[in-house]
Amino acid sequence: MLNKNQIAQRLAKELKDGFYVNLGIGIPTLVANYIPEGIKVVLQSENGLLGMGAFPFEGEEDPDLINAGKQTITSVPGSSFFDSAMSFGMIRAGKVDLTILGAMEVSEKGDIANWKIPGKMVKGMGGAMDLVASAKNIIVAMMHSNPKGESKLLPRCVLPLTGIGCVKKIVTELAVLDVTKEGFKLLERAPGVSVEEIVAKTAGKLIIEGEIPEMEW
């Protein structure tokens, strides 16, 4: 079973040289710490920055320079700033190669729910609906089950949707799965995790073909 940093590390294997990548809040943000050597990716922050860098050194925080999570950040050489319309314009136009974000539920059709729990205070969808509706390549990073122990990989989402038919791949603490027309296809299992455990914790349709290898990174 992977911890959050290991999930991020496995996600980082999905990066390709030259990719423009949007990383959501939470586990996805950690992916930036594991970019493979020899590969260059440019991080997009949807509040108006291409070329997001690390957190600033203490004392060098710039209130005019934050990421979409409202955290103080830095920018790398070769970065550019732009307004929110252009930012979502490049997202809508499919210029961002990969979007990694968290989810509360994913359905076997690739639907995603990650913005609203009925009965709880609703904070809003922010840029999530734009991202999932537009990005050509969306990977979800999440725990396989919710805090109550219920599977988050479902036949269909129970929570209000953020977007439909958009998730291409899922990385959890237990497994890597593709979302195919037929359902969740198990690709890899976490070290020490059995196929049986993944089957038991996946509520949506799970496709298992042949031997399922352990993850590597």
């Binding site: 934050i66 929110s84 319309a85």
Partner: protein, 235 residues
């Protein structure tokens, strides 16, 4: 033609109860601090505020919420503050949540004279309820309308006497879009210079979009999430 105002109070003089106001900024970054403070003093009520966020309890739009000056918020992400939540749950405050890109593009549409735009954001979700859906190249899009705002409050880094504006880094965000969209656009700037001092090739908001401009004071620029990394010790 004089666009220069002495301060926020003067620039906001004619804003009426019930006005629809756009406020630039993302979180607390790039928000029109002086305009918000002047609105609190002025006490204008029943406002509809179009802004990506609603500030925090004691800063940003949160200050207007504290004074119950806001009737309705149109935002993409709210609720970083308890007073907001209280007013929402008690029914005092209306909230319309819309996707962030839709919010941005509906501002741009207003500034570009486009009555409506198409976006895939929200298709298949509750955001699509009651909206027109149209398919182009086998993909579904929602028809979303341009905003119609009485005033836009924007915050820029530098401005000149013609109303030209330059923003700094990610403090740009919604500011240039709302500047284009407001029927009357009021810009507050950290530095106000004479015409010709800014590089004409590097203007983010051309002065034609800006009706009033003033030099803001006492910028606090509060940081919402201070994140830093440790310096490595000297070897």
């Amino acid at each position: 033609m004089n666009k220069i105002f002495k301060n926020a109070a003067e620039a906001l003089n004619d804003i009426h109860d019930g006005a629809i106001i756009m406020l630039g900024g993302f979180g607390l970054c790039g928000i029109p601090e002086n305009c918000i403070a002047a609105m609190v003093l002025k006490g204008t009520k029943e406002l509809t505020c179009i802004a990506n966020n609603a500030g925090i309890d004691d800063f940003g739009i949160g200050l207007l919420l504290q004074k119950r000056q806001v009737k309705k918020m149109i935002s993409s992400y709210v609720g970083e503050n308890a007073e907001f939540e209280r007013q929402l749950l008690s029914g005092e405050l209306e909230v319309e949540l819309i996707p962030q890109g839709t919010l941005a593009t509906r501002c741009m549409a207003a500034g570009y004279g486009m009555p409506a735009i198409f976006t895939p954001a929200g298709v298949g979700t509750e955001v699509a309820i009651g909206k027109e859906i149209r398919t182009f190249n086998n993909k579904e899009y929602l028809l979303e309308y341009a905003f119609d705002a009485d005033f836009a409050f924007v915050k820029a880094w530098k401005g000149d006497t013609e109303g030209n504006l330059i923003y700094k880094e990610t403090a740009r965000n919604f500011n240039p879009l709302m500047a284009m969209a407001g029927k009357i656009t009021i810009a507050e700037v950290e530095e106000l210079v004479s015409a010709g001092e800014l590089d004409a090739n590097q203007i983010h908001t051309p002065g034609i979009y800006v009706h009033r401009i003033f030099k803001g004071i006492n910028y606090e620029k509060r940081i919402e999430q201070r994140t830093v990394r440790a310096r490595l010790p000297n070897p």
